[in-house]
Assembly symmetry: C2
Homo-oligomer: 199 residues x 2
């Protein structure tokens, strides 16, 4: 017991030596940190500290810091997919649905900046080993499907690809520029840009 802890040193000595569900607790605390600081500023040690557990306990559940971040990334993907579903449900036609998804994309970025960054920009240098589905697959699939349904049936494969890339680039770029302070993060402005968009 070196007691060099800066905090109150609350050991979970309330009966059980084992935490119960540390893994979930770590993820939850990780998400909480992402609400208030950029991804590169989240620290394993602080997460552990706030959960009330030793610094190295994390390594029993995640081999790496990148692994923890990937987990957070995963729940981010689910949330984005959920946001897309909600956006689609409120639209009349396919075209409206697509634009609604575009708005939802940027809105999601503005409201969960760090999670968005974590998902989209490789904020974890070596996290993408082989697999790493990163859960962006689901929301991206939804976008792709909606756009395909929207285009003329005789459109070529590459034409679809280009169109998809244009749309994605635009919302992604808008989100990034706003997150990075190059453009004021105004949701009304987002609407204007998307409404005036092609398609």
């Amino acid at each position: 017991m070196t007691s060099d802890d800066n905090t109150v040193n609350i050991k979970p000595r309330d009966g059980r030596y084992h935490h119960g569900d540390l893994r979930s607790a770590l993820i939850e605390e990780g998400l909480a940190q992402l609400d208030v600081k950029p991804p590169d500023a989240v620290s394993l040690r602080e997460i552990a500290r706030n959960v009330g557990v030793s610094a190295t306990a994390v390594y029993r559940h995640f081999p790496d810091k990148a692994a923890l971040l990937n987990a957070l990334c995963g729940v981010g993907g689910e949330r984005l997919a959920e946001a897309f579903r909600e956006a689609m449900s409120g639209a009349d036609d396919q075209r409206g649905a697509f634009k609604a998804m575009g708005r939802a994309y940027v809105k999601f970025a503005l409201r969960n900046p760090s999670v968005f960054r974590l998902m989209m920009t490789q904020s974890r240098p070596k996290g993408d080993r082989e697999k790493d589905p990163c859960a962006t697959d689901e929301p991206f699939g939804m976008l792709s499907d909606t756009l395909n349904a929207l285009m003329p049936p005789d459109a070529s494969k590459t034409a679809r690809k280009i169109k998809r890339l244009q749309a994605w680039s635009m919302v992604h770029g808008l989100a990034m520029l706003m997150l990075d302070g190059q453009v004021p993060p105004d949701e009304a402005l987002v609407d204007q840009v998307i409404v005036a968009s092609f398609l």
Copy 2:
């Protein structure tokens, strides 16, 4: 002389105690680092080490790590402006010039990934104190001017703003998606997307 250096320990003992032009040397070395690693992986200590100087010597020329990064950011801006000039010079009309600048934007990002990141995405958490012109002003002004010349003279101010934002968002998003590995960094693909673009 602790000699705990891992390197060959080359002190600049070739006559002058003072380095001569440390500031420039630090910037140059910093840019060299940015060529091979992402911005958040550049380390003051390693820069100092490679320049052959003590770790804290940096603080005689830059108050902060962020300050050094901002300096690098500055030369990045000059380079981008230069790339824009070159792109414009090879075009016949205004419309061609604008699209050429779009291509140049993405190309610049692909060829100087870390510098681009440093300039565009706030990779320095607290770097943007008050001033921080960040030198992106010049290239952005060039883009804006070209687009303005391109639009019908009776276009409203907000119409211009929206159009500018659309264009910028698209190239920026495309660049980011490619840098982050979400889209293959294919320059031919860039051309397709931009050519097929609105405008």
